[in-house]
């Protein structure tokens, strides 16, 4: 290997990048803008769930029960119903997503210490939220019913099991704290793969590769020369998105910055390697960009555990998720930032192997093409 060749290629590549300010802007600004956009948009906390209330009883007890349900900010009442017909109407017009019906005789029935039913209807078209809504409402009603029971018996200290649950690492269950580390992984892999995917494809398409290949340059010199400038841009991107995650989205950083930097560097190499591989395999820029997008966006979004937990996926998908680099990196980021765990030997090893494999495989493939003269038309 000769450093002069590597330097010549890197230098040329930097000149291209500086000449093309638009691409440079996209490369640096895209992950930042996407992180801002998605970080705020993907909010899985339930807030402001609309509720329609049909209180047939209009008693003191029924009002107290409803107050309890509406007490936190999860639910807001948007309709006051006076007839059953209005329930279906309300769901159809999306005036509310939950209907609570308190029957006549609610207070009387309670006073007579009878089993007293009330009805809760939930819009199940969004199954995930429906589930959470149901749990939240039953919890409120359970606690109301328990207190009522205690006051009736005049014994506030009945021995009941009292669950003291605590949530660790994300005490308030805020979505951004869960989502942002995943998004960092997603946008880094996307941008790096997109950037490097055109590195060789562009030269093949324009025919400039042919002239380069008449010089005594070796495959590995070419690859390293091409990768260096993009590694620099990728590092800037990584720094920016990690800073935004930390300071704008308030993702805590409990572990060490150094560990995070080292793991991120390995992850970037994997991403650059993916782009390089694509660049070796395709012949046009268009195809390279499309392939890079297809290879990174959906697999990372769906199969990396970014949003959907891997443990609840079908077995086959779980197996596929092993080859998604972001799967391993997200575990690391969540671990280092949220839990303060700095030691991820398995994940680091897997990512490192992926990077080495991708880069050596693409270099070898390029070398073969070079020898067979397949690179020019």
């Amino acid at each position: 290997m000769d450093f002069r060749s590597i330097f010549a290629i890197s230098h040329k590549e930097i000149l291209h990048i500086l000449r093309d300010k638009r691409t440079l802007f996209v490369a640096v600004a895209m992950p930042v803008m996407m992180l801002l956009l998605y970080g705020y948009a993907i909010d899985m906390d339930l807030k402001n769930i609309t509720v329609g209330i049909y209180d047939q009883d209009q008693s003191n007890h029924s009002r107290k029960l409803l107050e309890r349900v509406l007490a936190n900010q999860t639910f807001i009442q948007t309709a006051h119903l006076t007839h059953y017909n209005q329930i279906e109407q309300g769901f159809r017009t999306q005036t509310f997503r939950v209907a609570i019906i308190i029957p006549h005789q609610f207070a009387n029935s309670l006073a007579q210490k009878k089993q007293t039913p009330i009805q809760v209807i939930i819009d199940g078209s969004d199954a995930n939220s429906a589930n959470i809504i149901m749990n939240s409402i039953s919890a409120s009603i359970q606690s109301f019913s328990l207190e009522f029971f205690q006051t009736q018996l005049n014994t506030p200290n009945i021995p009941l099991i009292n669950i003291q649950s605590r949530i660790w690492f994300n005490e308030e269950l805020k979505s951004p704290i869960f989502i942002v580390p995943g998004l960092i992984a997603l946008f880094l892999v996307m941008v790096c793969a997109l950037l490097t995917s055109v590195a060789l494809a562009k030269e093949k398409e324009l025919g400039t590769l042919e002239q380069l290949l008449t010089t005594p340059i070796k495959a590995q010199e070419m690859m390293i020369g091409k990768l260096l400038p993009y590694t620099l841009i990728a590092s800037i991107d990584a720094t920016l998105v990690l800073l935004i995650g930390r300071y704008l989205f308030q993702v805590p950083l409990k572990g060490s910055v150094f560990a995070l930097v080292v793991y991120s560097a390995i992850y970037l190499l994997v991403a650059l390697g993916m782009g390089l591989m694509i660049s070796v395999l395709v012949k046009t820029q268009q195809l390279a960009l499309m392939s890079a997008l297809v290879a990174t966006l959906l697999p990372t979004l769906l199969l990396s555990g970014l949003i959907f937990p891997i443990s609840s996926m079908p077995k086959a998908l779980q197996v596929i998720s092993y080859i998604i680099p972001a799967r391993w990196y997200i575990e690391i980021v969540r671990g280092v930032m949220l839990k303060g765990i700095n030691w991820f030997p398995k994940n680091a090893f897997i990512l490192f192997s992926m990077a080495i494999l991708l880069i050596t495989m693409s270099t070898r493939k390029f070398h073969q093409q070079l020898k067979k003269g397949e690179l020019t038309t």
């Binding site: 010549a8 042919e210 290949l213 005594p216």
Partner: protein, 242 residues
């Protein structure tokens, strides 16, 4: 001593035989002209000799190195100017030259000297604030030639170097080619301007993948009793095809 020795070189693209058992040799410091219509197989021969394509069969040695097994050595000793302009349009001429100086691993002092020489000799000074894509065709051709001779190669391959260039620029091109030959460079040049063949010490006429005539321009003309190279070429091709 031969600079280029080619023996029964063949290149097949699927069913199409682009180059069919071509044999020839180029002596050192010679200007060897490769004549033929478009699609005759000239470019394919040159690209095999530059290590850009692997032959289907046959062997060739460039500067004493086998084009299949010693590609790296071959590439160190050659300069190549392709038919299609293939430098970077978004960079300046000097940035392109610097890239190739780096790729040919020129030391700093030689680099400076050669760049000075080339930008003066090829009249490329005063263009360095511009991007290549904004330069006229003649400039681009000169720049391509400059990058090919930058490292003073032993053997220079020029594929249609004067196509699309006006007559006065063509004259300048040939002056430079002569100069390079005088410095001791062996030159293999393809052209379809027959009058340019007169500048060559040896010519070889290719048609449909085969070499159909070879010799000095004078010998080739005498072969078919022609007065001009143009005339000789047409007669030879017609004879070969019938």
């Amino acid at each position: 001593m031969f600079a280029i020795e080619v023996h029964e070189l063949t290149k097949r693209f699927h069913q199409f035989i682009a180059v069919n058992q071509v044999t020839f040799a180029v002596r050192e410091k010679e200007i060897f002209g490769f004549l033929g219509a478009n699609g005759a197989g000239k470019t394919t021969v040159i690209r095999m000799l530059c290590g850009l394509l692997t032959p289907t069969s046959g062997t060739a040695k460039v500067s004493g190195y086998d084009i299949q097994h010693e590609v790296f050595q071959v590439k160190k000793n050659i300069g190549y100017m392709s038919q299609k302009f293939s430098l970077y349009e978004d960079l300046s001429p000097l940035q392109n030259i610097n890239l190739y100086a780096g790729l040919y691993r020129l030391s700093n002092s030689i680099r400076k000297e050669r760049i000075d020489f080339i930008s003066h000799r090829l009249q490329l000074i005063n263009t360095n604030s511009k991007r290549v894509k904004d330069l006229p065709v003649g400039y681009k051709q000169r720049l391509a030639l400059g990058c090919a001779i930058l490292h003073q190669p032993k053997i220079l391959f020029l594929d249609e170097p004067t196509s699309g260039v006006d007559p006065s620029a063509r004259q300048m091109f040939w002056d430079i080619i002569y100069e390079e030959a005088n410095y001791g460079t062996t030159i293999l040049v393809t052209t379809h301007y027959m009058e340019e063949a007169e500048y060559c010490s040896q010519v070889s006429i290719m048609d449909q993948g085969k070499i159909i005539a070879q010799g000095t321009p004078k010998e080739v003309k005498q072969l078919v009793h022609a007065k001009t190279m143009q005339d000789a070429f047409l007669k030879i091709v017609e004879k070969a095809r019938s």
